[in-house]
Amino acid sequence: MTMANTTASQTEAPVFYLKEEHHPQNGTMLGFWLYLMSDCLIFAILFATHGVLGRNYAAGPAPVDLFDLELVAINTSMLLFSSITYGFAMLAMEKGSIKGTQTWLAITGLFGIAFVGLELYEFHHLWYIGATPMRSGFLSSFYTLVATHGLHVTFGIIWLVTLMVQVAKRGLIVENKRRLMCLSLFWHFLDVIWIGVFSVVYLLGVLG
């Protein structure tokens, strides 16, 4: 009986060699990074699909007939500008300047809107000349990949406006800073995906 009790108390008090001080204060940034990685897998599958279907024109229009590279270059620069202006918003945030943060966020949002607007203009033009997703395997995969990216940017803009309202109401509190950092990762991540889109879909597509 005594023996049993001793054994029980010994097993109940295990020793864990945990070093608490090495844990970050919260896991939000790591968790958000893992979300971005899973999002990356979605885009990987869409890129793979486009890689497989990208030459199946079904006797329809090919990229060289459809894409206006000057428009794509302007669109790319919109996203690139929005990346550095978001960076400036983060610098203003670290300085604790609400006005600076809000100004740079607003400029970032305008670049984002310009990007989505140009993409919608392109889609509308393609649709108008009959290059719809139903036309060929190439166009199906093109619209799916590029529109998924555009939808991400659209939701990024909605998120950005939401955070601007939050910062206006509550200021640069710890929670808002954390949210702005998450959106920062999201926004720059979308720019990384766009590098793949303009390289693989537009430039390699037009190259033939």
Binding site: C40, A48, G51, L69, A73, L80, G87, M181, V192, S199
Partner: protein
């Protein structure tokens, strides 16, 4: 009070390396300038038809794209081996392995599937059979 807590947060963040963005004006500017150059070159190669070889142009586009992705990762996403105690990098490496398998595997399998299809069923062939 608010100043104190603010200073504490900053200190806390730096100590633990939360993977938070700690860029400087110069690092963002360097990243931006590199990105502009790395974007302009592939567009210039395709729009002006600089290289005669399509394969060489395609290789340059892909190569510069990969370099630009690394530039964005370092200067904009502030990736390094220490952020989040290395877990960020580990997750990234794992994701890249899966991405490589998914994309390379799909292209490989589907390419062979296409070339192994028995007759070339294009429109001319169908017409000649009829």
């Amino acid at each position: 009070m608010s100043t104190h807590s603010h200073a504490h947060d900053d200190h806390h963040g730096h100590d633990h390396g939360d993977g938070a963005s700690h860029g400087t004006f110069n690092s963002y500017l360097i990243g931006f300038i590199l990105s502009v150059i790395l974007t302009a070159i592939p567009f210039w190669l395709v729009m002006d038809g600089v290289l005669d070889s399509k394969v060489a142009t395609a290789a340059w586009i892909m190569g510069l794209g990969v370099v630009q992705i690394v530039v964005h990762m370092v200067y904009f996403l502030h990736m390094n081996t220490k952020s989040e105690g290395g877990w960020n990098m580990l997750a990234l490496i794992f994701t890249l392995v899966i991405v490589a398998i998914a994309i390379a595997g799909s292209l490989w399998v589907m390419y062979h599937l296409n070339t192994n299809m028995m007759p070339q069923m294009d429109h001319e062939m169908i017409r000649s059979f009829g």
